[in-house]
Amino acid sequence: MPVVSESLPLRRVAARTRLDFWFDAAILVGYTIAYSYGFTGVVIHEWLGIALGVALLLHITLHWDWVVRTTGRLLRPRGPDKLIWLVNLALLFAMTLCVASGILISRVALPELRISLPLDDPFWDRAHTLTAEVTLGLVPVHVALRWRWIAGVGRRLLARRPR
């Protein structure tokens, strides 16, 4: 076992934990900006939304072990993380449908990629608005249910290193 100085263990954060922390923080910031359509304008809103779709895939992949483990424990009477699992499932549906409907009603990004969808249906417009509002309620809950982990890792990552 390697010998470490007394101050190091508190500050040492595994590379994977660091990746999770900063990647998730970037997704949260990206989501907040993308949701603020009046701030970003349509061009940035659409490209950022597509990027968030890709980030969503990567985010779930990085936490796939948790998904499998927690799903397996769901039937236990006092299985932990049940509420988090339900919130995450709802968020998966809302976010996926939000990104998908956003792509379907895209006016800048898809034409830029030379893709044209013959869709002129207000259903997707309304679905996009509705799912976006649902995600605005669920994203902060998703974050807050992990506040102890965020606070713990954040404290270690952002603590000043001794000179």
Binding site: V43, L92, F93, A144
Partner: protein, 119 residues
């Protein structure tokens, strides 16, 4: 290799959710009600705080809306990004998120405290 396998599984699940959305559209295209336009769209009003306008709402004379007016999604130009007036929209989103996070954290801390006291 393991990562790619997991990514494929996640992609399959996301595809299923998209299919559910398409099925929803196919079997219940009027789920959001037939009358009126889509929900409120945000419009950036130059020189004023950003606001939301429903379709059909009359805009007061002299108020200039960016881009496509009330008939569709407004086309806000790239130059409008980071304009102080539009920052209100971003702060609004951030405030909502912060409020929900604070409420859940306070509730969670309270529940944990009560549980500890019971033991």
């Amino acid at each position: 290799m393991r990562f790619l396998r997991q990514l494929a599984a996640v992609t399959a699940i996301v595809a299923v959710v998209v299919l559910v959305g398409l099925a929803w559209h196919h079997f219940a295209p009027d789920s959001f009600g037939g009358q009126g336009g889509p929900g409120p769209h945000r419009f950036v009003v130059r020189g004023q705080a950003a606001t939301a306008v429903h379709r059909g709402v009359k805009v007061p004379a002299g108020v200039e809306l960016n881009g496509g007016g009330l008939s569709g999604i407004p086309s806000i130009q790239l130059g409008d990004l980071l304009e102080p007036v539009n920052l209100a929209v971003l702060w609004n989103t951030a405030w909502i998120e912060a409020a929900v996070i604070a409420a859940v954290v306070i509730a969670d801390a309270g529940i944990r405290k009560r549980r500890r006291a019971r033991r």
